[in-house]
């Protein structure tokens, strides 16, 4: 089995077989939507309450209880253990797996509370693939190359009749068209989530493009500040952990031993489960991101006020 698409489907079947609630998201979901060709990683949103079952599943796969023997390991980049309180606190976990002796190394990334996404991903569990709306939210990262994917997902959503398209469209012409067709009932909620929409009817296309640029920069800068908080917490933890143990992470041990080791370490060395668990912490991240965005694109206070999304939208 060399095909990453076959791999994700077989893994999805394993999740379903264990009644683990989860959906495929990010790059491989974009492959399914016909937007992206070249990813091998599979990213999953898993209900934090089912994380324990996922750990058990990986242990059984390594022991060959559910078929062929897998090799599963944490990966050597910053990420938390597969543990309820960490994934519920916004961390991600990064694993590598070999599903057969001759297979390629599979990369699996797990979110419990994905960035920029609330609980609505649970509506997609029947299809097993996150909706275009959810994937578009997750793609509003600090990587400029993700933003054309946001627009493509939004255009697909628009032509599929999904009212959420107006929250993500980046193409001025299609955004105006979609906004004209939005129902009055949906407009209020959409403006709350994306304040730029309130200005649509009173600005020309050049001004709209300018505001789209400021809006994108705000998403990017706040996401960067969010990411830096988690990275700093991981670095501090890892430094402390390295001082009292010998060797490299990840170890060559079976997955459940690795898992026990890192769960013990995060407890002993104080990796915070929810670095952005308070409103004050999220407000601070938003403030720093806003300041950076203002500097990078020379945005005026009025422009920032026009596009600034609520804290609950950008840092739920």
């Amino acid at each position: 089995m060399s095909d990453p698409i076959e791999f994700y489907r077989s893994f999805q079947a394993l999740l379903r077989g264990r009644a683990i609630t989860g959906v495929l998201t990010s790059g491989m979901a974009c492959v399914e939507y016909g937007i992206q060709q070249n990813t091998k990683d599979t990213d999953w949103i898993i209900a934090p309450g089912d994380i324990g079952s996922l750990v058990t599943l990986f242990g059984e796969l390594e022991r060959g209880i559910s078929g062929s023997n897998w090799r599963v390991s944490y990966r050597g980049l910053f990420g938390a253990p597969l543990d309820f309180k960490y994934l519920d606190g916004g961390w991600t976990s990064h694993l590598a797996a070999f599903d057969r002796p001759e297979s390629a190394e599979r990369h699996l990334d797990f979110f419990g509370r994905p960035p920029r996404v609330g609980e609505t991903w649970r509506n997609d569990t029947n299809t097993g693939i996150a909706s275009r709306d959810i994937v578009a939210r997750m793609k509003k990262t600090d990587r400029p190359k993700d933003w054309p994917l946001v627009n493509a997902l939004a255009i697909q959503a628009y032509y599929s009749g999904d009212a959420a398209a107006v929250l993500h469209l980046r193409d001025p012409e299609i955004l105006r068209e979609a906004w004209r067709q939005a129902t009055p009932a949906s407009c209020e909620a959409a403006i709350h989530e994306r304040p730029l929409l309130a200005a649509l009817d009173s600005i020309d296309n050049l001004r709209l493009e300018r505001l789209l640029l400021v809006e994108e920069m705000l998403w990017q800068c706040v996401n960067r500040e969010r990411w830096l908080v988690y990275q700093r917490a991981w670095k501090d933890f890892y430094k402390a952990w390295q001082q009292d143990r010998v060797g490299e992470w990840p170890t060559a041990e079976p997955f459940l031993q690795q898992h026990g080791r890192i769960c013990d370490a995060v407890g002993r060395h104080g990796l915070p489960p929810a670095p952005l668990g308070t409103v004050a912490a999220r407000q601070a991240v938003f403030g720093r991101g806003r300041e950076r965005a203002a500097t990078l694109v020379a945005a005026t206070p009025q422009e920032l006020e026009t596009v600034a999304m609520p804290l609950g939208t950008i840092l739920p």
Binding site: S2, D3, I5, I35, A152, Y158, S160
Partner: protein
């Protein structure tokens, strides 16, 4: 708002295989490149067959990197 048509070659259990208006593919070509736009026009099953062929013959990179140099006529993994 529903210009979407469903292509009958879509596989059950996977996203519907709509054909979008031409301007969608033009935006893909502008933002992501002509090859991605060409691939996106294919029916779902053909898109997946093409990717399976690439994965079987080339060591393609992870996550959002550009296609590797060997796809421009270089080294076959086999």
């Amino acid at each position: 708002m529903t210009n979407e048509q469903t292509n009958p070659t879509g596989e059950p259990g996977h996203p519907a295989d709509p054909v979008y208006p031409e301007r969608y593919y033009e935006i893909l070509a502008r933002d992501l490149g002509e090859d991605k736009a060409r691939w996106a026009r294919l029916p779902y099953a053909e898109r997946m067959r093409e990717l399976a062929w690439y994965h079987a013959h080339f060591n393609t990179p992870d996550d959002l990197s550009p296609w590797p140099a060997e796809l421009d006529g270089g080294v076959d993994r086999g």
